[in-house]
C-alpha cells in the first residue's frame, strides 16, 4: 500500500509542478513585457494576457508552502529558516510584482508607471531564479546538523547545483512566457515574442541539458537520465523549434511539459529524502523523519482529494472563459484613448 508520507511527497511535487507550469508563464510575461511591448499601449496588452489568472496561479505556491507545513513540519521549519534572506528576497520580488500588476496603470504619471514597470520586470526575474535555487538546494545539500538545524550562512545557499537549477528554471519560465505571449497576442507583440523565443529557447536547451547531467551527478546512482529528464530535454527542443512556426498552442504545451518535467525530476531524484544534509548523510531530512502523524496526513489527504479536483475544474473554466487572442493596439491614426482595452479577437 502506498504510504501516506509518500503520497504527500507526491502531492507536494504536484503542487510545485503546478506552480511552475502556471505561474511560470506569468513570470515570463512579467519579465518580458517591456521587451515585447515597445510602448505603453503594447505593454498593457502584454500584461493583460495574464490579467485574470496570475493571482490564482500564485496560490499554488502558497498551498505548496502550507502543504509542506502540514505534512512535513520539520522540512518546512528547516527549509524556510535556512533560506531566510533568500526568501525575504523572494517575498520582496513577489510583492513588487503583484502590486505592480494591479497598480501600474491606475495613475497617469510617467514616473509612477516606469517604477511599477521595472518592479514587475525585476520581480518576475528574481522570484523564479531564487525559488529555483531553493529547490535545487534540497538535492544539492545544505549544512544541516543532527537536530535538523541549518548551520550555514547566506552564502552557503548558493550551491553550484542550486544556482544552475535556478537559472534553468528561470530560462524555462522566460521561454514559457514567450510561448504564452505568442499564443495570446497578434501582430507586432506576437512577432517580438517569436523573435525572443529563439535565443531563449537555445539558452533553455543548453541550461536544461547541463541541469540533467548535473542532476545525475548530484543524485548519485545510475548515470542514465530518468525518463522524465529525457522528456524535459525533448520538450524544450520542441518548444524552441515550434515557436519559429505558427503552432503556437503546441509550442506552449511543449514549454509547459519541459517546465513540469524539470521540476518533477528534482522531486523524483530527491525521494525519499526531502532535504539533503551536506554535513552528514545521516542528518538528512526524509519523508519518514519529518512527517506529521497519521491522523493529520489522513485528514489532509481527504481535503486534497476533495478540493484539488475542484480547483482544477474552476481554474480550468477560468482559462476557458478568457481564452483567445488579445488584439494589439490599433494601427497609426486611431485615437490613443481607445487603445487600452484589449478585447479578445473573435
Amino acid at each position: 500500500m502506498l504510504h501516506l508520507t509518500t503520497l504527500w511527497f507526491v502531492v507536494l511535487a504536484i503542487l510545485w509542478v503546478g506552480f511552475f507550469v502556471l505561474e511560470g508563464f506569468d513570470f515570463g510575461v512579467g519579465a518580458l513585457h517591456m521587451l515585447v511591448g515597445k510602448d505603453e499601449a503594447e505593454r498593457r496588452v502584454a500584461v493583460s494576457t495574464i490579467g485574470p489568472w496570475w493571482d490564482g496561479n500564485e496560490v499554488w505556491l502558497i498551498v505548496a508552502g502550507a502543504g509542506t507545513f502540514a505534512a512535513f513540519p520539520a522540512w518546512y521549519a528547516t527549509w524556510f529558516s535556512a533560506l531566510y534572506i533568500a526568501l525575504l528576497l523572494v517575498l520582496a520580488a513577489l510583492m513588487a510584482r503583484g502590486v505592480a500588476l494591479e497598480y501600474a496603470t491606475k495613475r497617469d504619471n510617467e514616473r509612477w508607471l516606469r517604477a511599477w514597470r521595472w518592479a514587475l520586470t525585476i520581480g518576475s526575474l528574481l522570484a523564479p531564479l531564487l525559488i529555483g535555487i531553493g529547490l535545487g538546494d534540497l538535492l544539492a545539500g545544505l549544512p544541516i546538523n543532527s537536530s535538523h538545524e541549518f548551520t550555514g550562512n547566506f552564502g552557503d545557499l548558493f550551491t553550484g547545483y542550486g544556482v544552475w537549477t535556478g537559472f534553468t528554471l528561470l530560462s524555462l519560465c522566460l521561454l514559457h512566457g514567450a510561448t504564452f505571449l505568442k499564443l495570446r497576442t497578434t501582430g507586432a507583440i506576437r512577432g517580438r515574442a517569436r523573435a525572443l523565443a529563439s535565443p531563449l529557447g537555445w539558452a533553455a536547451i543548453a541550461l536544461l541539458i547541463g541541469f540533467v547531467v548535473w542532476t545525475r551527478k548530484v543524485a548519485g546512482g545510475p548515470e542514465v537520465p530518468e525518463p522524465v529528464q529525457v522528456l524535459a530535454v525533448i520538450a524544450v527542443i520542441f518548444a524552441a523549434r515550434l515557436t519559429a512556426g505558427d503552432h503556437d498552442g503546441w509550442a506552449f504545451i511543449a514549454s509547459g511539459v519541459a517546465i513540469a518535467s524539470s521540476v518533477g525530476s528534482i522531486f523524483i531524484d530527491l525521494y525519499p529524502n526531502v532535504m539533503v544534509s551536506s554535513t552528514n548523510a545521516s542528518f538528512n531530512l526524509t519523508v519518514h523523519n519529518s512527517a506529521s502523524g497519521g491522523y493529520a496526513l489522513k485528514l489532509m489527504t481527504i481535503v486534497v482529494v476533495i478540493f484539488l479536483p475542484l480547483v482544477l475544474l474552476y481554474q480550468g473554466w477560468s482559462f476557458h472563459v478568457f481564452r483567445g487572442r488579445l488584439r494589439g493596439p490599433p494601427a497609426d491614426g486611431e485615437p490613443a484613448a481607445t487603445v487600452a482595452s484589449p478585447t479578445p479577437q473573435t
Binding site: 493571482d55 491522523y295 482595452s341
Partner: protein, 464 residues
Amino acid sequence: MTNDLARWQFATTSIYHFFFVPVTIGLAFLVALLQTAYYRSEKPEYRRLAKFFGTLLIINVVVGVVTGLVQEFEFGMNWSAYSRFVGDVFGAPLAMEGLAAFFLESTFLGLWVFGWDRLPKRVHLACIWLVAIGSMLSALFILAANSWMQHPVGYALNSHGQPELNSVSALFTNPTFLWGYVHVILASLVTGSLVMLAVSAWYLRKGREVALFANSARLSVIVLLPVIVLQIFVGNKLGEIETKYQPMKIAAAEAQWESCQPCSFSAFQIGGGKNDKTPSQIIEIPHLLSVLATGEWNGAVKGLNPLQAEYEKKYGPGNYVPDVFIQYWSMRVMAYLGTLILLLGLWGGWLLHRGTLERSKLFLGISVWAVITPFLMNTAGWLLTENGRQPWIVQGLMKTVNANSPSVSSTDIWISLIAFVLIYIALGAADLVLMLRYSRKGVEGGEGEAGAAAEATTTPAMSY
C-alpha cells in the same frame, strides 16, 4: 534579543496585514450586495456603484494578498522551532485555507474583474459572491489555527512530547474559535460598511452624485447598525470564553491584580506601566467587569497575583503575566470606539428612518472621519488577543521564548524587519494614493442617463 526582534517583526507584519483583510472581507460582501441589487432591479446606478466600490476593493485586495504571503512564510522563517513543534496540528488549517479559500477567492476575483459583459449576468454575480465567501472562509481557517494557540484542543502529545492532531471536529468547535470567528467577521463588516459610508458621505457632502451615493450610504447604514449591535454582544461573550480558558488575558485587561467579587470596571487609569501594580483607576463602574468576564452580576474574577501563583505551581517558575498596559488600553480602545460606532449607527438608522440621511451635514462629516476607527479597533483587538496570550505562543504548551528559529540570527531579522517596514511603507503610500484618487475621482459613466449609456463603450477601470 533575537526572540524579541522576531516578535516585533511578526507583530508589525501581521498588524499591517490586518489593515487590509477586514476591508477585503467587508467590502467584498457589500459589493456583492450592490451587484445583487443591480441583478434584481436592473437599475444602472447599482451597477455603477458595484464597479466603483469594486475598484476600491481590488486596490486593497492586492496588498492583502502580498502581505498574506509574508505571514505564510514567516512561520517557517522566524519561528522554525514553533513550526516543528506544532505543524502536525497548526499546519492542517493553513493548508486547508489555501486549498479551500485562497484558490476560490483569487480565481473568482479574476473572473469577476475581467468578466463584466463577458459572463452571463447570473454567473458574474455568482463570481463576486464566491469572492466574498472565499475571503470569509480564509478567515475561518486561519482563526481555527489561531484559536488553537489560544486554547489548544483536539490533540494528544506523542512520544516526543509534541502535539498530534486527533480530532478535527474539536479544532472547529473550539469555543474560542467559534466566538472569535464571528467576532472577526462582524469586525470586517463594520470595517467594510464604515469604508463605504465614509466614501459615500464624502460625495454627499460635496453634493456630487447625490442620487447615486445616497444608495450606498443607506446600504452601509443598514449593514452597520445590526452588525455593531451584534458585535457588542459577541465581543462580550468572547470575553467570557477567554476568562474561562485564558484568565490572565482578561485579568490583565482590567489590571486586576487581586481577585474580586463583584468586580468593577474602570473607565481610565493613570500609571499601570511595567512594574506599577497600583495604578489609579478612575470612574469605576460597579459590577461591569463581573458581567463582562463572567456574564453574571456578581461573578468572581481571579486576580493576576493568585493566577501567577497558580501557574508557577503548574508550569514552574517564570512570569506568566502579560503586559498589563497593552491589555488594559487595547480593551478600552475597542470598547470605547465600539460604543461610539454604535451611537453613529443608531444616529444613521434614525436619519434613515426620517429619510434625511443624505442631507445631514453633521452626520456625513463625522462619518467621513469615522473611517479611522475600525482600523484602530481591529489592531486593538489583535493586541488584546495575542499580547494576552504571552508568555505562551501556544497556551500551556510552548513559550514564545522557545519558539523562534535557532538558525536565524538577530542580524538576519534586523535586515528583514527593516526591509519589510520599508516595503510596507511604500505599499501603504501607493495604496493610499490610489484609494484617495479613486475614491474622489468620481464614478464611471458620469452623471445621469447619457453617462450611463456612455459607460458601456468606455474601458472598464478595472482592466489593465
